[in-house]
Symmetry: C2
Subunit: 221 residues, 2 copies
DNA sequence: CGGGATTTTGATTCCAATCAAGTCCGGTGG
DNA sequence: CCACCGGACTTGATTGGAATCAAAATCCCG
């Protein structure tokens, strides 16, 4: 599995913010490419840059001592990631599939934000929406059954990546499992069960066709 | 259980931000008191105000259709809550114990932030740290055992509320359970187990004495 | 001292993890 | 073109940990 299709026509939630960086001064940031599974930055490293996804999908995650991995979020085209308070990375970022990002220096931001009130407003709304997304992730992880988690994930990803009934997953089952706090087997079983129940169809491993959206939404509780 | 002691000498993480609201123009906000379990605002309501905790503890939470409750966060003196993007409350806020808060109009903020760049900077750092805390909550909820969750919670609460080895809980077992995605029985059992293992001592229901901090930290993984 | 809520403890059940084979690809080389 | 290979995914059998169901103990307050 090297060349996984990774189309993300994505109308990212944070595109508004991204806009001002990308549009106004393209020379401000440097374009970088990463092949699948390449690390973009590591947990614990110095946080000099933040990034905007141009194409592809990026995961931010944390590794525990015992080898467990928890995925914090998936970022698609237009999303900003790697912008946190603190000089040290609280989590790593990796390319889920081949992808292109733009890196911006964090330290430039401080100065700019002070002068440009529009920018600082956008920054604030970025942070707010980041807060909101982290919150929603928490709710997915709370006392919910495997079905609720998987259904919730599918709906969230469908919204994030596109809006028709054909969902194309950029990430592996393991990624999904690590995002939902489940095992790969449970994710697989749950998807199979949803297919058996005619909620979804799985024409190929990474393609999901939603047959019964209403039911899927009910299952997400 | 009406009058639960709720002392929070708390050097809240976000006190810096709170400062500018509280200090400079106290007349800006209105002081409000809430008795234990009183709702401060409801999920779905219009979000006109945001709040700063003066004393006591506030919980923000979400209610699911089937009656399950998930607690998003506990807020102590100095913390800001109820400041989210969107005009509608994504979650409710309730008084964990009798408490005092200051309410500020959200709409004034926009104008103010534009003029006062210092304020907008503080707002940003509030949002950032909110993002960070939501993320950490996610990590507590991910694939972790009951012991890891409870130990993690104790450490986080100890840091939030005070820093010596005697932790005083403001919240009920049910609150803790709903925060950690566990049942009240499991929380209780886990605490008992920690006591049996001489990691903590439970002189009273809401008082926890940490006997072996290192071990507790290990258990939190 | 009594009564109700909260918490603890115990017994059992159930869901998801673990352990263990299989199956399905996509890619490679004969 | 086909056999083979290896990784990702699926499926099956069993185990384990937390939920559930149920009851006792404790605390708080009148």
């Amino acid at each position: 599995m090297k060349t996984q299709s990774c189309t993300n026509p994505s109308l990212a939630r944070q595109a508004i913010l991204a806009h001002s960086f990308a549009g106004a001064e393209p020379q401000m940031g440097s374009v970088q490419n990463f092949v699948q599974d390449r690390e973009i930055f590591a947990q614990g490293a110095a946080a000099e840059y933040f990034y905007k996804v141009v194409s592809g999908v990026v995961r931010t995650c944390k590794f525990l001592v015992d080898g467990r991995r928890q995925i914090d979020a998936f970022h698609v085209a237009g999303d900003i990631f790697g912008l946190e308070p603190g000089a040290e990375r609280p989590l790593s970022a990796e390319a889920v599939c081949d992808c292109t990002v733009i890196a911006y220096r964090k330290n430039r931001l401080d100065g700019m934000a002070v002068h440009d009130k529009n920018l600082s407003w956008e920054l604030l709304s970025f942070a707010m929406s980041g807060m909101e997304q982290a919150r929603e992730h928490s709710f997915l992880l709370g006392r919910r059954s495997a079905v609720e988690k998987v259904a919730g994930f599918l709906l969230a990803w469908a919204e994030k990546s596109q809006r028709d009934s054909m969902i194309s997953l950029a990430m592996s089952r393991q990624d999904i499992a690590d995002y939902l706090g489940l095992t790969i087997e449970t994710v697989s079983r749950t998807l199979s069960q949803l297919e058996r129940d005619n909620v979804i169809d799985l024409p190929s491993v990474r393609q999901i066709h939603v047959l019964n959206l209403e039911l899927l939404e009910d299952l997400a509780a």
